[in-house]
């Protein structure tokens, strides 16, 4: 076999195809990738070290800056872990509000994924539409929590504010609008033969080794394995809401895209059910004095289903008013490093940022 000369190509931290700040070092022969190695650490801000210097409530400001496209699952997982340690009861209404906030976060993150996926495949029409429509959901967040992207709204013991009146039917109106828009998106991207040709059979995650590699979320569901934290370990009120988890066979970019396309419709369904049967009552089991609030010693592991997959918080407390050790494992931790290095060899250079986007890799989640 004639051994072609290998060139190394750095899809460096500064590259329009890489969302965020991470470097994929490719050994390339002609147009196909021979080997890939990811280099991270560009967005490391020592978040876990800083959290040891903040008390339990102040940690929330750091938490939601942790993964940029989707801050809410971080707050919820941390809040649930602390509630488990403190065994603090969350009122029923707060649970429903939390589920609505989570599903809204899932939808705005889906629209961002949708923009990244079609942008990296060369279609510059739908990123404009989907990020434009995402702003409607961010407006909802702004009314509810005051912040566009970072909300700091979910606290241990419930949520910070009750729903402003008129917000609930504004959500329903936005849901109808988004649902109408989703059909148009399908016409442009999912029914587009060139996108199907580009996406099918590319970046295949094998079904048998998927769980071993630590693949979670829509990528795992894309390989045909039905696993979703909302069903396996229902938290908040997910057991009272009926929704189904879509799975696809094949494990390539196309299967993952279909899974995500179906998941948004489920989110809309969940939001509608959560809004209609949300009880009245308290929304916040108030912490007596947040500054001097000490959580009993112990360790807790809580996980929630974010758009990219299962996010786990391992919180250790030694009884003081500062968290002793918080270690976070986002879905991108394994997708961005191990899984990417295993499925990139053999792919075309044109598909590297395409695959990176379909795996839902969010670099700040890898290095915190």
């Amino acid at each position: 076999m004639i051994r072609e000369k290998e060139t190394t190509l750095y899809l460096g931290p500064q590259h329009p195809g890489i969302t965020g700040n991470m470097m994929v070092k490719l050994k390339v022969q002609g147009d196909t990738v021979v080997s890939a190695s990811t280099h991270v650490g560009y967005l490391h801000r020592a978040f876990e070290k800083l959290i040891e210097r903040r008390n339990w409530i102040q940690a929330f400001t750091l938490l939601c800056r942790f993964c940029v496209p989707e801050p809410d699952p971080m707050e919820l997982t941390y809040a649930r872990a602390v509630e488990e340690l403190d065994n603090r009861e969350v009122p029923e209404r707060a649970k429903y509000i939390r589920v609505i906030v989570m599903e809204l976060a899932r939808m705005q993150s889906f629209l961002l994924w949708y923009a990244g996926q079609s942008g990296s495949s060369g279609l510059y029409l739908t990123p404009q539409w989907s990020v434009g429509d995402r702003n409607y959901i961010l407006d909802l967040f702004e009314d509810l929590t005051g912040g566009r992207i970072y909300h700091m709204y979910i606290w241990p013991g419930g949520v910070r504010r009750d729903i402003p009146e008129g917000w609930a039917d504004k959500v329903l109106r936005t849901m109808d609008y988004i649902e109408k828009r989703l059909d148009e998106y399908n016409k442009i991207l999912f029914d587009n033969t060139i996108f199907q040709k580009r996406a099918q059979g590319v970046g295949i995650v094998p079904k048998d080794k998927a769980i071993e590699w630590g693949v979670v979320g829509p990528v795992l569901r894309g390989t045909g394995i039905k696993s979703d934290v909302r069903i396996d370990e229902p938290y908040e009120v997910y057991d009272k809401i009926d929704f189904d988890v879509p799975t696809q066979e094949g494990g390539d970019i196309w299967a993952r895209a279909l899974v995500r396309k179906e998941e948004v419709r489920q989110s809309i369904r969940i939001i509608r059910q959560a809004i209609t049967d949300m009880p009245e009552g308290a929304y916040y089991n108030k912490v007596s004095n947040p500054m001097k609030w000490t959580v009993p010693a112990g360790q807790a592991w809580a996980k929630t289903e974010s758009v990219r997959g299962e996010i786990g918080f391992h919180v250790t407390s030694d009884g003081g008013n500062k968290p002793y050790r918080v270690h976070v494992k986002g879905a991108a931790y394994t997708h961005g490093v191990t899984v990417l290095e295993k499925i990139l060899p053999g792919q075309n250079i044109a598909d590297v940022s395409f695959i990176l986007n379909s795996l839902g890799v969010c670099p700040p989640e890898i290095e915190r």
């Binding site: 696993s227 592991w301 786990g312 050790r325």
Partner: protein, 191 residues
């Protein structure tokens, strides 16, 4: 209380096989305390026999008073939907832990991070030393004795901020010489 049959069955399976202590924390959460060098056999046993194929998490807690690192391996079985914690304690001075790269490939990333952040040595771990930081010459930063505030104050410049909580508008007007705008006057402390 939900019936903990499955959890207790799992606990007995592991504790009898390896004669170690453990307890059921709550529904779906079981923890087992193991000795340092039996951890990888427990993990292999759990993965192959009991079906705990998903390594959800690997972390290290630095107990500085007891002079120990606590290594926690979180594994999860999609079939039984239970999370098993395998916890072990290793000495803090020269921490060495066996490398479980062969059981799960993804453990390589966790171990590289722990080697860089805590200074734990994993013999036989492939991968460069610089995982997150670049040319780091201090002690591994996540250890408790490393004070990040002191280090930041030394190396990075900090802009001279306002010494005490004076009202911003008065400061600005003093500096720029313009009077405090009247809409702000009723909030200003001076008047």
């Amino acid at each position: 209380m939900t019936n903990l049959i499955k959890e207790n069955k799992l606990l007995d399976a592991v504790t009898t096989a390896f004669k170690i202590k453990g307890k059921v924390i709550r529904g779906r959460r079981v923890e087992v305390f193991a000795d340092k060098n039996t951890v990888s056999s427990i993990l292999l046993f759990a993965k192959k026999q009991l079906g705990y194929i998903h390594l959800a998490h690997m972390t290290c807690v630095d107990w500085i008073e007891q002079r120990e690192f606590e290594m926690i391996y979180t594994i999860y079985s999609p079939v039984e939907k239970i999370t098993l914690f395998v916890k072990t304690r290793i000495d803090r001075e020269n921490p060495v832990m066996e490398n479980i790269d062969t059981i799960w490939d993804q453990a390589n990333t966790y171990e590289r991070e722990m080697r860089e952040m805590f200074g734990i040595e994993f013999p036989g771990l492939i991968g460069e030393h610089d995982f997150l930081l670049e040319d780091w010459d201090q002690i591994p930063p996540m250890r408790k004795e490393f004070d990040t505030h002191k280090y930041a104050a030394q190396t990075f410049f900090s802009r001279p901020g306002r010494e005490d909580a004076k009202d911003v508008r008065d400061e600005i007007s003093k500096r720029s010489g313009t009077a405090v705008p009247d809409f702000a006057k009723k909030y200003s402390r001076e008047s």
